[in-house]
């Protein structure tokens, strides 16, 4: 098979694709922030002394870890408005779905980081007369943070790529624009190739950065 590549189409429509990148980045950053904050609440719930609260947080994380992300996105967009009466724009639906999803994974990262610090640290802190909150703030979290950074980096990269899924609900990010242009120009081959390249160009340096973080914090231990 001999295919005639026509990349002019891509260059002509490049501004449209670039406009999609902005939304991809915005959605990634906002989802990460929302997930990081909500995830902390869930992690603390999972470490709480109350069984019912731990159970609730456990169900939450498992619910989001065992259902496909695309299903979560579609569910938030189509079903959540029916259940709650609140309708979001596609972008905010995506943000809600990603925020909730990332929170579940962040909670696991936080929890693993905090529990990895070890019982001895907690006992020594309590023995000094610290409250549980002080132990968390002064002793456990500062030590856990360096252990959490590498897995958070890994998650950020998959989040960045996964935002392409919200094209399914009409968020005009990079993937959506590519699909739109592919149909519009009859040149899907060139368009999707460049789309993949754009993801690669943005993600690859970050991936290198995350590898560097892994090395940095592994030697620190």
């Amino acid at each position: 098979m001999k295919y005639q590549w026509h990349f002019e189409v891509v260059w002509e429509n490049f501004p449209i694709m670039l406009s999609g990148i902005g939304l991809t980045i915005a959605l990634s950053i906002l989802s990460m922030l929302a997930g990081a904050i909500l995830g902390m609440v869930i992690a603390l719930a999972r470490l709480s002394p109350w069984t019912w609260l731990r159970g609730l947080a456990y169900c939450y994380t498992e619910l989001f870890r065992t259902t496909p992300l695309l299903v979560q996105i579609v569910w938030v967009f189509y079903v959540l408005p029916l259940v709650t009466g609140i309708a979001f724009t596609p972008f905010y639906s995506g943000l809600v779905a990603f925020g909730l999803n990332i929170a579940a994974f962040m909670a696991e990262i936080y929890r693993a980081g905090i529990t990895s610090v070890g019982q001895g640290q907690t006992q020594a802190s309590l023995a000094l007369g610290m409250t549980n909150a002080q132990v968390m703030r002064r002793i456990l979290i500062p030590q856990a943070v360096t252990r959490m950074i590498p897995p958070i980096g890994t998650m950020w990269i998959s989040l960045f790529k996964d935002t392409s899924l919200v094209s399914a609900i009409g968020v005009t990010e990079l993937m959506y624009q590519a699909r739109f242009l592919a149909v519009d120009t009859y040149r899907p081959v060139e368009i999707f190739t460049v789309c993949a390249l754009i993801y690669f160009v943005i993600t690859f340096p970050q991936s290198i950065g995350v590898n560097w973080l892994y090395h940095k914090y592994r030697t620190r231990e």
Binding site: G120, Q123, A124, L126, A127, L128, M130, T131, Q134, R138
Partner: protein, 248 residues
Amino acid sequence: MADVVVRVEDLHKSFDDLEVLKGVSMEVQRGEVVVIIGASGSGKSTFLKCLNRLEEPNRGRIFLEDVEITGQKTDLPKVRRNIGMIFQQFNLFPHMSAIQNVMEGPRTVLRMSGERAREHASQLLDKVGLSDKLDVKPGQLSGGQQQRVAIARALAMEPKVMLFDEVTSALDPELVGEVLTVMKQLADEGMTMLVVTHEMQFGERVADRVVMFDEGVILEEGPPEKIFQRAESERTRRFLNQLHWEGE
């Protein structure tokens, strides 16, 4: 004159089906050094951890200077300020320097000013012979040095009683002496101490009273001369003999 710092009445503790403490009662006078001995699994470490309620006793009562600390409404952080504890594994805070470790209690718990806490901490580190290690992180210290920082950290809270939980067991033999020297110094200064240890020489030289734990109860107790030389129970004698063999 009875100036009792710690009083324990009929303490019981179980882990699931395993009853580790089966009714232990004890009184500790101010300034007294009580050395607790016994085989591993005899409940001595659990007993110590019940005293500041790092382990929750199932039954029995504990009093610190006549105030019950086993009640439901006990303000545990407040009680624990007065009870220093040193652990087998040191448990220093690895993200803080030696002096920050010692300042942490006064700063965070007592809300002492940084300046005062620093001055006090540097005096305490001087006392344990580490005035040249103030800004060194625990990872850069030997086990003996770490344990001395841990003692200074506990002292910074000016506790009424100190609990030592096998504090030399994780140390290389040549580092045991420097820690025991600091402990002896504290004993000489009149600190009330409960010491769980396998260092029988320390027991012989420093203890006012030696308590032998066996299977969750106090088997026998008395002044060190009596326990080490004329123990009444066959089990105590056998335990001490065995230690001698291991030490040879």
